[in-house]
Structures are given as structure tokens and as C-alpha cells.
Amino acid sequence: MTDAQVIVGLEVHCQLDTQSKLFCGCSTDYRSDGPNTHVCPVCLGLPGSMPVLNKKAIEYAMRVAKALNCSVTDEAEFSRKNYFYPDLDKAYQITQYDKPLAKGGYVEIEADEGSGGKCVQITRIHVEEDPGRLVHMGNAERGRYSLVDYNRAGIPLIEIVSEPDMRSPKEARKFLNKLRATLEYLGVFDSEKEGSLRVDANISIAGSERVEVKNISSYKGVEKALTFEVTRQKNLLRRGRTVKRETRHFLEARGITQSARSKEQEHDYRYFPEPDLRPVNVQSWVAGIVLPELPDARRERFMAQYGCSANHARTLTGELRLANFYEHVVASGQKGLFTLAATWIADTLIGELNYRNMTIDTVQAAPFKKLLEHIQGDECTDKSGVEVLRVMLDTIKQGLPYETPLAILDRLNLRKVSVNITRPFAYGITLKSGVEPNPIMKALSEVLTEQPRAVEDFRKGKKEAFNFLIGHVMKKTRGRADPKELNRLLVEALKNREA
């Protein structure tokens, strides 16, 4: 059963990053404000209020449709999806049903295990309003209750539905990442905003019933939820049981999915056309929409213009902010900086940021560029560079005053130390008292004394012993030694020893 084909399709809901809500003038910038402060008769669903369509939201959605190669409908119509829930103030959601904005596109992603690119087909794209939000209060002893906040009610959402074209949780993650990047490049989505993304996933093992997993609200969560489902479903089949067609909820904190109560699955949404809105002739808009450079094009450009490797280019362009950061750093820089910056951002900076749970927009390009220039100018080693970078990031995170990379280098005494003696061992390694010893020379001589076995091993032809000794010198000098120079010095010192 382990080779059974996994089949995944996604329904992705993203908040469109408009200034005002989908059907009223209320601001969408509600996250730092108190509950029910961004509301009006329309988004509260007060009796008698009527929706007025925010054209910007439609334009944003059409950008997405165009970027995902969809065909846009002639007339987009809104419908009501009727269901009762306390966060839904009108007891219906204005959404699109049988006449969605766009249909039939595709997204290119990299397939698993380097088998080249593949297309994930897009079934449809439509626009709808977000419901409000329930906040659960109280506890089991003193009673539980829920409060409802309608600030979110009426925020425009775009729903992007894919065909079941993905073959693993990892591919689903890649699809989602690609989608996020595209939406951000289009300037219609801000993935950093809390709760701006929600995903429902359909997953099945070929030949079995499919399961819908609802309620996934993070990029990592999608892969986690799907991985859990693959294991769960495969285990069922292995034990000779069948997979039940059902809806399950993803419990992010526990990393598991749980069967939804059967009541929740029996919805009949009674869709019908929203009588308070006229159909929108969207076809006439499509031609006027000019798309910006999208991730694939930018990746190609990074390879051509900056000589980035395919991997670096993909990583750097995979996020709009990261790509912008890179281009800020290399702007008006020399050619040598292009590769150095790509390596440092893609291989080091991202990891350090993730470790600190920081985002790229907290980092300034200029100081980072300065740091790279110090590395490039041989003022510090790669290893010291990492140390400086860590200090820089910690400083930002803790909100401490800014310190230049050079100041940090000096403060931590991490400037590259040079021996500046052409043939030090010609004079032996005995040190005269009263003379401040060169720290590298000092460390080297100490290591040679402290590690006689390694010296002996090297003499016997064990090449690994050399690296072992280098490592110890580096440790003593806290990485300040230039590895190339140190190599040369050690070779000479060992030669001297033998002599």
C-alpha cells in the first residue's frame, strides 16, 4: 500500500489587500483595533442595509485570474450562500456560485524529486466576503461563552480552487508557496497579515473516498495536515478498512485532523442570485489589466542578470520581499557582490531569520550590504560575518540602537587577523617574552602542543588530522583567522616539526 497514489486538491481563500471592505466603506485595517470598531450597517448586516460592490476587489481578483492563465467570464454574478452561524451576521454569505469570475487556469510548480515542472490546473476563481470571527471565552468550571467580532465581516476574499493535481503534501505546499508569491507580486495579498490565508484540502488515496480537511490556516499547516491524512488513510487501508467520505477539521496545535460532527456536513446552502447586486460585466476590464513581473519571470531574470544559480534564484524570487531585498542589496554593486549576496541571503540570512521568527522586512538592505562588503574586502571571515549578522538581527529583534557591522566587528574583536609574516617558522615558534604574540601564531603553537596525537596521526599520513588541527585553531581564535592563511601556516608548522 505504501506506493498508493496520493491525490490532493486545494481550495485556497486569501484576503484581498484592499483599503475598504467588499461591500461597504469600512477600513480593512482592523487587526490592531478593538472588536467591532470597523463596522457599519452594511457589514453588520443591519436590517435594510444593502451591499455596494468594491470595484477594486474585483480588479484585484482579475489580476489573479490573468496571472493564473484563467479565462474570465463575461458577466460575474453574486449569489447568496445561506447558512446559520453566529459569525455570519446576515445568515448568508455573498459569494459567487454558478457564474464565478474566472475558470480554467493553471499554476506551474516543480514536481517532486526533480522530475521537472508540472502544471496544477485551476478550476475556478471567485470573490466572496469573509464572515466575522468568534472568540471563545470562559472555562469548563465557570461556563463557556463566545463573543463575536464583526471587524472581519465583509473583508474581500478570493477563493482559488485547484483540480486534484497534486501528488503529495509536499507538492501541495509548493503549489501554495507559488500561489502566495504570485499573489504578492500582483500586489493584492499580504501573507504577513494574521489570518489572511485559509485552506480547505481534499485528499484521497487512489481508488478510495476523498476526505475534506477544513480549517487549515498556515502554509506549514497544509503540509502537516495532509501528511497526517496520508498516514491515517494508508493505515486504514493497510488494516483492510475503508476510508470514509467525510469532512475533517485540522487541529493545528495538535497536528491532527478530527472528524467533523455529521450535522456540519449536511448543509444545503440554497444558493440563489443576490438580488441587491447587478451582474458585473468583467470581460471588458480584462484587457486593461497590465500584469507586473511575476515570480517565474523574475527568477529567469535573476539568473540572467545576476548570474544566480537556479536554486538561489528560485529561493530569492519565491517571496516578493526577499526578491526586493536582494535587488536592494545588489543595486549599484559590483558583479562580485551578486553571487556573494545571493549565497548569503538564500543560505544564511533566511535561516537566521526563521530561527528568530523574524521577517525579511525588519532587515535593512544597506547595513547588510555593508557587512557583505566587509567580507568581500577581506576585513572579516565568513564565520565572523555570521556572528556579526546574528548580532545585527538580535539587535533589531530586541529593539536596541543600531550599530554598524564594522562597530560590531570591532566590539567583538572579530576583525580578520593577519599574521603578516611571510615565513614565521623559519625562526622557530618559540616566542620571545615581552613581545605581544600574534594571536593566530599563539593559538597555532598551543594547539600543536596540546594535540600531540593529531600531529602524530598527520605524520603517519592521516589527512583528517589536518582538519582537526585547523578546527582547534579556529576555535581558539573564534574564527578570526583567514582559513587560507591558516592552512598555509599549519602546513609550514607541521613541516617544521618533522624537520
Partner: protein, 433 residues
């Protein structure tokens, strides 16, 4: 704005008002100081608005409907909120949760509905004019039964913003008054574009009634004088049309075959929309509060069962059924086809005539409690609903009496020719007076 105050102290023996504003502020303008009654399904800031339903008892809107804004700007004094069938669902005003309104012409009879309170307030002389709403005849029916004038404007001509929706695609707010001139005056104030209502058109109404109807052609649909119509009502109406001919108009027979399905199409459409519109009344945000000790599901059920009257519950259930998966195609979708056919019939007739005329209601006002089964009540709407299905304008003007009770002449016009139906009604009013 509110520079003046009108003291309003009506002798409301007919239960026409649900709320009376005894001291009504007003400003200067076209309607300066005129007390205007507003049907209780139109939102009024700071004044309780219940739709004559227990489920909205205590609801005080935080905003004014667009038409109320306009009334205030033109100097009108809001006299109060008038009784109606709960959420507009009825033809007699007996479906009010706060007791029926009586017909001032005969207090043993209903005033018609659903804008019965507005019509009775005018007929009894309590106010000069009032706002009503017309979903399937709710302005024209009580106008006919109480012997006053009521206009259902072309769909989109008057903003619905602030009108608590019953059936969005059918209903319009419209003017009611004792005379055609006053109806026209009130229409001047309330018509026009409102960006908050996406279905509104930029067609202001600046007309003053003109009684010259020489050369006008009037279509007389046979269905309006056939089975189900009281022959005495038909006779009074025919005589009124004859008066119009004497004024230089030409009457031509015509037929609206789609009327066979009009009533069914109307009731499927309005109940479907109502089932969705009324779903928001759950006790969470306004109205009598839901019991928070219960699960939300149970609390909703109890609030709605206790808060809605029998007719409203019936229509919610009918509409819910009509929209259910598996039945949508059979009912809602079919109703829309029938609705298109009604529109086509009107378009065809209007290619040959200027207006269509007939009785507003098939009978005179019923006795209170006379119509007890819903189906016979629904049948009384047969002559008014085609206009709503076709989104066209229609006016009801008194044209005589049967058994001492008023009969209404209904003039229907082409879309956006509200001015023309007003003129014809005005012409008749001049000779009848």
C-alpha cells in the same frame, strides 16, 4: 436642520400607527412642516422600527433609510411609523403582531395591506401623505380599499436603502396620499439615484401632473375583468375607463396570457428571497435576545419560533423549500422563467399602447377575519403582482364605490414612465371630482 417642530396628536382609532412622534422636528423645504407617516419597515434613526414583528420589538435603527433622509431634507416632519402586515407579508394588515388596522371607511373591514397603516392614516385624515412599500400590491391594494391614491414606482427609481427587505427583486418604496398631486409631490422628493442601492437608477422625478391625455392609448387586458373579479368592481372600473375615453383616450382590448403563472411565480420568488432576508433575525444583534445558556442552534430556533408570526413562518418555510437543492430547478428557476414571460407580455402590449388599465383589486375590502385560508388570500393579489414581476410603475386611484366601499382604478405604465401613469390618474381625478 431641524429648525421647527410640528406637534402631531392624531386620534388613532384605527390602529394605523405603531409609533407616533408627537413632537416632530422639521426643517424648511418643499414639504416644510407636512406630517408624513412612514411604514414601519423603513428604517428611521432613533425611532423604533419593527416591521410589525415581535422579532424586531425594541429595534431602534442607528441610521435613516435614504428616503427618510430625503424627507427630512425637504422639510417633512416624520409623524410616526405605520402598521403593516408583518414584514409586508399580507393583503389585509391583519398579520401585524400588534393588532390589525381598521379601515376608516368601515371599521368592520380591513384596510388592505400590507401598507394598511399608511393608507388608513391618510383616509382618516391623520396625515396628508405617507410612505408605503409595494412588493406585490402592498401600496395599491390598501390605496384601493381605503379610497386614496398610491403609486408603485418603476423598480430602481426609489432607493431601497434602509427598507427592511422582504423580497428585494420585487419591492419598491412609493408615495401614498389623498390626491394624485400629493402623490406626485412626494414622489418628487423620494425618487432619484442613491449609490448605496446598487439597483437604483439615475432617474429623478421632477414632474407636475398634467391632465391632458388626448390621443393616449389604453390597453384593457381581458384577464383583469374575467373570472375571480367581482362583476360590480369590474363595472365600476369600466365606467372609469369610459371617462378616460371621453377625455380623448382610446381603449384597446389586450391579453396577458402569462398571468396564468404570475401568482405562482410571484409567490415562489418572494418567499425564496424572504427565507434568506429574514434569516438574520436570530436574537444575536437586535430584537429580543437569544437565550445564551442554550446552544446557539437551539437558541436561534426558539427566538425565531417565538418571534415570527404564522404567515411569516409559512413563507420562510415555502421559500426555504423552493431554494433547496433538488427543488431549485423545479421552483425558483421556473418562477424566473415565468417572470420573464410576464415581462415579455407587458413589453409586447406596451409596443401598441401607452398604458394598461384595470381594477386594482378584484373585490372591495374584506371583512376582518373573512379570509382565513392562505390560498384565497394569495388569490386576491392576482391583479397587482404582474406589475412587480415586470418591474413597471402602476398607480391606484379611487374610481367609485361598491356597497359603499371604495374601488381603485389601476393604471400601469412602461418602465420609467411613472409620470405618464400619474398624468392618467390625475386626468381621471379631475373629472371624477
Amino acid at each position: 436642520m431641524a429648525a421647527h417642530e410640528t406637534v402631531f396628536n392624531p386620534d388613532d382609532r384605527y390602529n394605523a400607527f405603531l409609533t407616533v412622534c408627537r413632537k416632530a422636528p422639521h426643517s424648511d423645504g418643499k414639504l416644510a412642516g407636512i406630517a408624513v407617516a412612514v411604514k414601519d419597515n423603513i428604517s428611521t434613526q432613533g425611532i423604533e422600527t419593527t416591521c410589525a414583528s415581535k422579532i424586531l420589538k425594541g429595534y431602534i435603527p442607528p441610521y435613516d433609510a435614504h428616503v427618510v433622509d430625503l424627507l427630512k431634507q425637504s422639510g417633512a416632519a416624520i409623524a410616526g411609523k405605520t402598521n403593516m402586515d408583518e414584514f409586508g407579508m399580507g393583503t389585509t394588515t391583519e398579520n401585524s403582531a400588534f393588532g390589525p388596522t381598521l379601515n376608516p371607511c368601515d371599521t368592520t373591514r380591513v384596510p388592505g395591506g400590507s401598507s394598511g397603516g399608511s393608507a388608513a392614516a391618510i383616509a382618516a385624515g391623520m396625515v396628508r401623505m405617507a410612505l408605503g412599500t409595494d412588493t406585490g400590491g402592498s401600496i395599491r391594494c390598501p390605496a384601493a380599499f381605503c379610497g386614496i391614491v398610491g403609486l408603485k414606482p418603476t423598480y430602481g427609481r426609489v432607493s431601497r436603502y434602509g427598507l427592511i427587505a422582504y423580497a428585494n427583486s420585487l419591492e419598491q418604496i412609493g408615495p401614498m396620499a389623498g390626491t394624485v398631486s400629493d402623490v406626485s409631490l412626494l414622489m418628487q422628493v423620494i425618487a432619484g439615484y442613491d449609490r448605496r442601492d446598487s439597483t437604483s437608477y439615475n432617474k429623478p422625478y421632477t414632474h407636475t401632473p398634467n391632465p391632458d391625455i388626448k390621443g393616449l392609448t389604453i390597453g384593457i387586458p381581458q384577464e383583469y375583468f374575467g373570472a375571480g373579479v367581482d362583476p360590480r368592481v369590474a363595472e365600476v372600473t369600466k365606467r372609469a375607463i369610459f371617462r378616460l375615453e371621453e377625455l380623448g383616450a382610446t381603449a384597446l382590448p389586450c391579453s396577458i396570457p402569462s398571468m396564468e403563472y404570475a401568482l405562482a411565480a410571484y409567490y415562489v420568488t418572494c418567499t425564496s428571497e424572504a427565507s434568506s432576508n429574514l434569516a438574520r433575525f436570530d436574537g444575536v444583534r437586535y430584537g429580543p435576545a437569544a437565550d445564551t445558556k442554550k446552544s446557539w442552534h437551539d437558541a436561534y430556533r426558539e427566538v425565531r419560533r417565538a418571534g415570527f408570526g404564522a404567515e411569516v413562518r409559512r413563507r420562510i418555510m415555502l421559500g426555504t423549500f423552493a431554494l433547496s437543492s433538488g427543488y431549485y430547478g423545479k421552483y425558483y428557476a421556473k418562477a424566473q422563467i415565468a417572470r420573464e414571460n410576464v415581462k415579455k407580455d407587458f413589453a409586447r402590449i406596451f409596443s401598441e399602447v401607452d398604458v394598461i388599465a384595470g381594477p386594482t383589486m378584484p373585490t372591495i375590502a374584506f371583512k376582518l377575519g373573512e379570509k382565513s385560508d392562505p390560498l384565497s388570500m394569495y388569490l386576491a393579489d392576482i391583479l397587482t403582482v404582474p406589475v412587480n414581476l415586470a418591474n413597471i410603475p402602476a398607480i391606484s386611484v379611487p374610481c367609485g364605490k361598491v356597497d359603499g366601499m371604495p374601488v381603485g382604478l389601476q393604471i400601469m405604465g412602461k418602465p420609467f414612465e411613472d409620470e405618464r401613469v400619474v398624468d392618467v390618474a390625475f386626468a381621471y381625478e379631475q373629472v371624477a371630482a
